[in-house]
Amino acid sequence: MHSVHSIPGGIHPPENKTQSLGKAIAPLPLPARLVLPMGQHIGAPAKPLVAVGDRVLKGQPIADAAGFVSAPIHAPTSGTVTAIDDQPVPHPSGMKARCISIEPDGKEEWIVHQGVGDYTALDKAELLELIRSAGIVGMGGAGFPSAVKLATDKPIESLIINGTECEPYITADDMLMRERAADIIAGARILGHLIKPGETLIGIEDNKPEAIAIMRQAAEGSGIEIVTFPTKYPSGGEKQLIQIVTGKEVPSGGLPADIGIVMQNVGTTAAIYRAVVHGEPLISRITTVTGDAVAVRGNFEVLLGTPIQHLLEHCEFDAGAASRLIMGGPMMGFALENTGIPIVKTSNCILAPSRQELPGEVPAQACIRCAMCAQACPVSLLPQQLYWFARGKEIEKLEAHQLFDCIECGCCSYVCPSNIPLVQYYRAAKANINKHKQDNQRSEIAKARFEARQQRLDREQAAKDAKRKARAEKAKRAKAAGGDAKADVVQAAIARSAAKKASQDPAQAAIERAKSARSGGQPATTPEQKIAKLEQRLATAIEKRELAKGSGSDKLDAFEASVTTLEAKLATARSELPAQTVTTPKAKVPDSDPAQAAIERAMAKRAGGAPSESPEQKLAKMEKRLATTRKKLAQAQAEGSEHVEILQQSVQKMEQKLEQAQRQLAENT
C-alpha cells in the first residue's frame, strides 16, 4: 500500500453526492443549437477555421490552436455553422466572447477518423501532436492544455491521475470511474509511455468505494496503483493531492513538474485514450446535473456547446425553487447569469440548489479573530490577518502573509461564523496588487527613460562645448599664424559654406520633399496603417503572453494587461476609422496643398523673415522625430530589446501629439 500524508486544515461540508449517483451516465437528445466558445481553455482563444454557412462533420476541427498554449476545437456533431460572433460564455463576470454556433442536422455524420493501432511505436512528439490536435485540456476545472503539460522534459518521478473529486455534489468523475475504468487505465498507460514516470498513482477519496473497487480491478497487473485517502475538501486540488500522495510540496510560484510530478484528471486521461486509440477529438464530456431545483438528477454525456437551458429542460428544472444556478460545485463554482451559456470542456457540474440548500447571502458581521479560518486553511495561511490587511489595503503585509499562495478554495469563508466573504476580499486584493505592480513598473520605466534622456542631453551639451572650445582655440592659433594665411583661410571658409549651402539647403530640401509628397506620397500614417500596426502589435503581445503562460513567467499579468490595452486601443482606432476618413480631407481643406505650404514656408525661411518656429515647421519636425522613433522601435523589436515598450509608448505619444498639432493647424488656418 502506498502511504498517504495528511494536509493541514480542510473542511467536511455535506457531500450531497448520492442524489446524482442513482443512474448510469445518460446521453442527451441533440439540442437545436450548439455554441462553442473559442476560449474553453487557459491560453489564447482558438482561431475559427470555418465560415458562416459551412457544413461541418462530427469531429471536424472548426477552430485551430492560436499559439503554443492553446487548443483546437471540433464540431461536436454534423451540421451547419450559423454564426461566428460574441455570445455569453461560462465566466464569473458573465462576459461575452467569440463563439461558433452550429445548427445540428441530426445525422451525426463523423469525419473520417482513425486511431493509432500501436501508440508505443510513436515517438513523444507524434503522440503529443495527437493529444494536442484532439483539443484535450484539463477537464477537472482548470482547462490547461494537456499537451503543454505533458511536453515537459523534466524527469518525472510520479504521474498522478486525479480521481479525488472532493467538491460536494459533483459525481462526474465518480461515474466515469465506475463505468469507464478501462478507458482511464488505458489512458494512464499512454501517459506513462509518454513521460516515463517512476510510478503511476490514481488518487481517489475514500467516499467512493464502488469506484475504488472497480478501478482496482481494472488496474490489476498494470503496475498502476490506486491510492485512497480520507475524504476532506479540498484534497482534490492539484497541490493538495500532490501533498497527500507524495508528501512533497510544489514550491510557491513553481509547477508540479519542478518536483518531478505530472497530474491529470481522470476525465482528461480517458479523453486522451479516446483520442489516441480511437482518433476521437474532445467533443463531449460528462456533466453532473444536481440540486433540489431539478427533478432529474444524474450524470449526462453532454456535447460541448450544449446550452445549459437544454440540459435544464431535460432535467425538469424548477426556476421558481432555485436560489441560484452554479456551474461547478458549491465551493468553487460560479453563479450563472443566464441559461443560454454553453457547456464547455471544463464544465463538470450544473448545480441548481433550492433556497433551503444554499440560502442567499447573509449580512457579514465583525471579524472576531476566532481563527476558525486559519484552522480550515489547507495552505496554512492566516485568513483573518489577510482579511484585515485587505481591508486596510496594506499591500506589503498582504504579500508578507503570502496572499498569492491562496488557492481560493473557500474553506475560510465556509467556516467563518461572521459570514465574511473572505475569498472575495482576497480576489479583490490580488487584483489590486497586480494593478499596483503594473503602475509601479510603468513609473519605473518612465523614470529610467527620463534619466536616460537627461544623461544624453548632458552628454550632447558637453560634446558641443568641447567642440566650440576646440574651434575657438583653432581660430586663435590661425590668427596668431599671420595675416597672409588669414585671408586664404577666410576665403576657404566662405567657399566651404557656399558649397554646403548648395548641397544642403534645408529650404531646398523641404521643397523637394513637399513636391514628392504632392506627386503621390502619403501622409506619414493613415488610420488604416495605424490599425494594421496595432493589430501586428496585438498579435505579438498575445504571443508573448502565451509564451509567458507556458513558462509560468511572473510577467504574465503584465503581458495580459498589455494585451487588453492593445485590444482596447485597436477597438478605438477601428471605431474612429470612418470618422477619421471623413474628417481628414476636411481638415486639409484650408491649406489645400501641403506641398505649396511647405514651399512657401521654405521660401519664407530662406528670405529670413519667418518666425522662429511656425506650426508647420513644428509639424514637420514632429513627423521627423516620429519616423526616427519608429525606426528605433523596429530595430528594438528585431533585437528583442527591453526598450520596446518604452519606444512603443513614445511612438503612441508622438502620434497623439502629431494629430493634435494637425488639428490645431487646421483650426488656426
Binding site: 461540508p13 464569473p92 463576470s93 458573465g94 497541490k239 501533498q243 510540496e249 514550491p251 510557491s252 431545483a293 426556476a319 432555485a322 441560484r324 444556478l325 452554479i326 461547478g328 458549491p330 465551493m331 463554482g333 460560479f334 453563479a335 450563472l336 447569469e337 443566464n338 440548489p353 444554499l358 442567499g360 447573509v362 449580512p363 458581521q365 465583525a366 471579524c367 472576531i368 479573530r369 476566532c370 481563527a371 486559519a374 484552522q375 495552505v379 496554512s380 495561511l381 492566516l382 483573518q384 490577518q385 508578507a400 502573509h401 503570502q402 499562495d405 481560493e408 473557500g410 469563508s413 465556509y414 467556516v415 467563518c416 461564523p417 461572521s418 459570514n419 466573504p421 475569498v423 480576489r427
Partner: protein, 342 residues
C-alpha cells in the same frame, strides 16, 4: 430565481457568531453553579445586573455610532463580556462597582477602541483591573465559602444577596467575607504549608475550599467548548502547563517560603476560568496556533510571577492585559509556514 452575480463559495456552515457566543455562555453554567453553591447567590445577582447594564450600554453606543442596534445586540457579545466580568467580581461587590465596571468594559474598552473585533484588550479584564485599582476594598472582599464561618455557615440566599449588593444590608458584607487562600498564602511568612492548611478553614483538598470545585466546573465548561471547537487547545494548555511548571519550581515541598503546589495553583483563584474563558478570547489573543502557544505560556508565566512576587494575590487580569499588549508582536514572529515555502 434571480441570476445573482455572487462568487464562490456558495455553501456555508450553519454556525454564526451568535451561536459561538451562546456556547460560551452555556459553558459558564457549571462554574456559576459551583460559585453559587459555595459562595451564595451574589455572583448570580451580579450576572443579571451586569447583563442588564451591558445591553443598555451596548444599545446606546450602537445607536450613537449609527449602527443597526438589533443586528449587533443579537450577537450576544455584550452579554458574554458582562457575564465574564460578573463571574470575576467578588460575589458581594456593590451594585455601583458592577455598573462602573460593565460600563467601562462596553463603552471604553470595547466601543471606543473600534467595537466588536477591534478591541486590543479583553474588555472584562481591563474593567476588572480598573475596578481593582479604583476600589481596592470592595474588590478584595471575597465571600467566605460554605461552612467556614461559625456564625454564618450558609452563604447568602437570593434575597439576602440582592439586599447586600444593592446596599440595603451593606453593613452585613463584612460578616460574610474572609481572606481568600491566595491572600493567606501571600501573607504567610512563618507557617509550613501543612500547618497553614490546618490553621485556615478556607483551604480545601488541593486548592481553596469551594474554589477547587469552581475551578473544576470551569474546566468542564472549557472542555465542552474545546470539544465543540469554539477554540483550539493551544492557548489554555500552554497557560496551564506553564503555570504548573512554574509552581513546581517554586514549591519546595511545603516550607514557609513555599509558593504553593502546582495543584494548588491550578485549582485556586481564577486559573481555570482564566484558562478557558479569558485567555481564549479570540479578539485579543495571538492568531496562529504557534502564536497562541506562546501567548498562553506568557500569561501562565506572568500569573505565577505576580502571584508569587507581585502586590496582588491573584494575577490573571494583569497577566492577560500584558499578554494582549504582546499579541501583535507574537503574531509577527509566529506566522505559520505556508504551503510551498521551504
Amino acid at each position: 430565481m434571480a441570476f445573482l452575480r455572487v462568487t464562490s463559495p456558495h455553501a456555508h456552515t450553519v454556525q454564526d457568531t451568535a451561536s459561538v457566543m451562546r456556547l460560551v455562555l452555556y459553558a459558564t453554567i457549571p462554574g456559576i453553579i459551583a460559585l453559587t453553591w459555595f459562595f451564595g447567590f451574589g455572583t448570580l445577582v451580579n450576572i443579571v445586573w451586569a447583563g442588564f447594564i451591558a445591553l443598555v450600554c451596548e444599545a446606546a453606543i450602537l445607536k450613537l455610532r449609527g449602527l443597526p442596534v438589533g443586528f449587533y445586540l443579537k450577537d450576544y457579545s455584550a452579554l458574554v463580556t458582562a457575564t465574564l466580568l460578573a463571574i470575576a467580581l467578588p460575589p458581594y461587590a456593590p451594585w455601583w462597582v458592577v455598573l462602573v465596571g460593565v460600563a467601562f468594559a462596553i463603552i471604553i474598552v470595547k466601543h471606543l477602541y473600534g467595537g466588536m473585533g477591534h478591541n486590543p484588550f479583553n474588555p472584562a479584564m481591563a474593567a476588572y483591573v480598573v475596578l481593582l485599582i479604583s476600589f481596592p476594598v470592595q474588590m478584595t472582599s471575597w465571600a467566605a465559602p460554605l461552612h467556614t464561618l461559625v456564625e454564618h455557615p450558609l452563604p447568602p440566599g437570593p434575597l439576602e444577596a440582592i439586599s447586600i449588593n444593592f446596599g440595603l444590608l451593606r453593613d452585613g458584607v463584612d460578616a460574610i467575607t474572609m481572606a481568600t487562600p491566595l491572600d493567606i498564602l501571600k501573607q504567610n511568612k512563618s507557617l509550613m504549608m501543612e500547618d497553614l492548611w490546618l490553621a485556615n478553614p478556607q483551604f480545601g483538598l488541593v486548592g481553596g475550599r469551594g474554589w477547587e470545585w469552581a475551578n473544576l466546573a470551569f474546566l468542564a465548561g472549557g472542555v465542552f467548548l474545546l470539544a465543540r471547537r469554539v477554540f483550539t487547545w493551544h492557548a489554555p494548555v500552554a497557560f496551564l502547563l506553564t503555570l504548573a511548571l512554574m509552581a513546581g519550581f517554586g514549591y519546595d515541598s511545603g516550607s514557609s517560603q513555599s509558593g504553593g503546589s502546582p495543584l494548588f495553583h491550578l485549582f485556586t483563584g481564577a486559573t481555570m476560568f482564566g484558562a478557558f474563558f479569558i485567555v481564549t478570547d479570540p479578539v485579543t489573543s495571538a492568531v496562529s496556533n504557534r502564536g497562541r502557544l506562546v501567548y498562553g505560556a506568557m500569561i501562565g508565566l506572568l500569573v505565577y510571577i505576580i502571584r508569587a512576587w507581585g502586590n496582588y494575590p491573584d494575577a490573571v487580569a494583569f497577566a492577560v492585559l500584558l499578554g494582549n499588549f504582546a499579541a501583535p508582536f507574537i503574531d509577527y514572529y509566529t506566522q505559520p509556514r505556508t504551503y510551498g515555502h521551504g
